[in-house]
């Protein structure tokens, strides 16, 4: 029941804070804008004023794509580098956004409007949240070890080449296990950040250890909450991406409409991220008081 209450609380909190989702979307779009210009430059360098560039609008011109991949190596290398650098920077910026959201969830509109609350939390918690990233190696390392151990077991199960189909299905098991572990670690990191904010603690490592213990003790509830929101996110994504796939993107307006739907999708995901924070904070508040 705690889980269901927390789920609806999270959704409610997200609905009450459209600005939070908007800020997440703005950050996402700002980083993506750089990629757009670099990608646009790479495509233009490769195809320029060629008729092959026209084709890209009307159909998938595999020849043009092949030439794009095999031709301007420098431009594509630059694009890949930009993507990796921006990804790294975005991960560094993310603690800022987590801090702002949690601050406003715990102390709504303290001392003014949402913006004031959000940015004060962003600055106040940034360094502590940033330290959570390297400290989380204590979780990633055992998760990786667990994965490789399981991988060995699965290897042994699928070692007989005559059981070819089993080997194929075990690939799905591997992917599912990897995703489960990634989500588990990320969920623990969520609770660690909540712990830091609620207790005004300074030890990232201590918060992670506490959060790991908390998640293990409340494994059913935390997982149900996490995957419940995950399914909600998937449902919305399916609707938006389904709508997008209905549009034949063979004209500039149609392409633009498709891109707008993508932005709506990113906005939806941003809202869900806010809901995650709200729901997990609520779950923490309801259940963690008994845990020292």
């Amino acid at each position: 029941m705690n889980m269901l209450r927390s789920y609806s609380k999270g959704i409610r909190e997200a609905l009450l804070r459209p600005q939070a989702a908007a800020i997440l979307w703005i950050f996402n779009a700002a980083f993506a804008a750089i990629v757009y210009f670099v990608a646009s430059g790479a495509v233009t360098e490769a195809l320029g004023r060629s008729l092959a560039a026209d084709d890209l609008l009307s159909r998938s011109n595999v020849d043009a794509l092949f030439e794009l991949l095999t031709g301007p190596g420098g431009a594509l290398a630059a694009l890949l580098t930009v993507i990796l650098v921006l990804l790294f920077l975005f991960i560094l910026v993310s603690p800022l956004l987590y801090g702002g959201i949690l601050q406003d969830l715990i102390h709504p509109r303290a001392g003014g409007g949402f913006a004031s609350s959000f940015w004060s939390g962003a600055g106040r918690h940034y360094w502590r949240f940033l330290r959570v990233l390297p400290a989380s190696l204590v979780l990633w390392a055992p998760a990786a070890a667990l994965y490789f151990l399981a991988d060995r077991v699965l290897d042994a199960l699928g070692a007989n080449p005559l059981k070819e189909q089993l080997g194929f299905y075990l690939t799905f098991v591997r992917v599912a296990l990897a995703l489960f572990l990634v989500f588990l670690v990320r969920m623990i990191m969520d609770y660690a950040r909540i712990r830091i904010v609620v207790t005004e603690g300074h030890s990232a490592l201590g918060a992670l250890v506490w959060a790991a213990a908390f998640v293990l003790r409340k494994l059913g509830g935390t997982l149900a909450l996490y995957y419940g929101l995950g399914l909600t996110a998937l449902a919305g994504s399916a609707v938006l991406l389904g709508l997008s796939s209905l549009i034949a993107k063979t004209t500039s307006p149609a392409v633009l409409l498709g891109f707008l739907l993508t932005q709506l999708h990113i906005l939806w995901r941003s809202g869900i991220k806010v809901a995650y924070q709200g729901a997990e904070l609520d779950f923490y508040t309801r259940t963690a008081t008994s845990i020292k």
Binding site: R49, S50, I83, F259
Partner: protein, 646 residues
Amino acid sequence: MRKSPLFLVAAVIALMSPARASLSRQIVRYDIQVRLAPETKSIQGREVLSWLNDADVPVSELRFHLYLNAFKNNRSTFMKESGGSHRGFKRDEENWGSIDVTRIQIKDGADLTPTLEFVQPDDRNPDDQTVARVVLPSAVKPQESVVLVIEFAAKLPRVFARSGFSGDFFMIGQWFPKIGVWSKGQWNCHQYHAHSEFFADFGTFNVEITAPERFVIGATGRRTAERKNPDGTRTLTYVQEDVHDFAWTACPDFVEYRERFALADPAVDTEMIFLIHRAHLNSKDRYVRSLRQGLEFYSRHYGPYPYGTITLVDPAPGGTAAGGMEYPTLFTSMTTSYMPAGVRMPEMVTIHEFGHGYWYGIVGSNEFEEAWLDEGINSYSEAKAMAQYYGPQASLIDYGPLRVSDIQYQRLSVIGSGRFDPILRNSWEYLNGGSYSLNVYSKASLMLLTLERYLGQETMDKIMKTYYERWKFRHPTSADFVQAAEDASGQDLKWFFDQALNSPDKLDYAVGSLASEEVDLAAGLFNGKLVTPPGAKGKGGPAVVYRNEVVIVRKGEWIVPQDILIVLEGGQTIRETWDGRDRYKRFVTFGPRRLDYAQIDPDNRWLIDADFSNNSMRLKPRPGGPRKLALKVTAWFQTLLSLAGI
């Protein structure tokens, strides 16, 4: 060598020859008994080989392929060239392969075993034992035969390249002492290389295979006899005329299917035999359909399939390294038990490997020295067949949004690779395996597809039929293909083949620049008369004339004639031609309309062009296409950010 026994043997062989007219010159006849010992992964054999000296000089030594010795250690030429891996499969350090000739003698005559020695004609690698020679006590005279009795024992490697075993699956190729080809006064008997292994004379094979009863057997040729033995084994006899090699396979988990294939025109009647591993029975229909397509396509386009059987072998899971290989009247395809229908790998491999039966099997080209005559022509044929049966746009992959044709795939491997080697070169002299593959398979195929577009489908069909008819059951060279092409087309094509076969250069023409500028019309005093620009009818203003300039550049080394399409605003078109020789050519036109775009090779004849994108240029760019792609990349990145960060 004594004269009288040889004459006697020749006479006996002549008497034993079948009454039917041979399709090929019968240089060899092999009568082999072989026994498989699955527990030790080994075979033991006895071979009676008759070899006819078809040349006009006496021959005093014989050379043999002992190709299982390629797997004997890590210093054989094959292992050195391949690095011990093949198509991503690694050698097994505990299961080497080898072949020992325990006795070789002239039938009822001298024991040649003491004279047997290994030779390395290609690279002088003393550790390579894939070619051996024996010295005859007397030379075999022209048009005489020698009959040898050879006893041998072989250990099979765990399969990582073509031959060997995996569990109870055995693919047994290159397994017996096989005589080389006496050609131009010397032995053409190459070592086993990473990328080539086939060149032999035509003849007849009569092979008795003994294996435990539980094994399902398949082999080159037709099964003519079967008997059970008291020791729990059975012996199957296979016979095939007019072939130059023999391979066989054994596995208890094969399920055998037989179907007839018949065509009225041209007349074909053959039995298709499918040996499909239990794990892959869900691919049966795909195998059957694609083999039927291969038989139909090759019979109609090149010549009727001449043999009574064709056997498709589906390697066991774990034995995939034996897949995708050709032998006379038998080949290995490949699949997995979860192959999506839109990924046409089993179909492509089946058609390709069956097709080798024509371009390596019937037309006996020399894979060591001119591999493109087999792989290149066959890749061309395969691409044509795949396009005919699965559509030209997505003949290879039609899976979700991904649609790739066989031809596009071949082109990708050519344009994405360095240009270091020509198509025509000894197989072991290429820079590396990648360079061999792209030249011998893809570039050679693109060369033929380009020639087809240049000459037209009808002429190309005539070329291929001429080449096949002229060289079936013989040993052609590249020069013979060029000659066939020139004869069939009635054109001098040396300019084309010289560039295509003998040079690593590329073909790349581009629209270098476009310009469209208003011309200052004559105005003022000319010879004392005032000249005023004519007014545009009905509009009152001066008429506008544009100077439209198109510069075409030759970026590659190949020189080919080019068509150029110039399109003006409003759709008016101008077609120009250029011999393509200079480094650039400027085309200038004057008129009332501005240039819209220019395009080289508008009919897309030069498929081997390295870059299609630079074949056209607009005066004013249209950003829609690049914008769409850039937005797509942006959307992917946004999703990535959303997954990785907050």
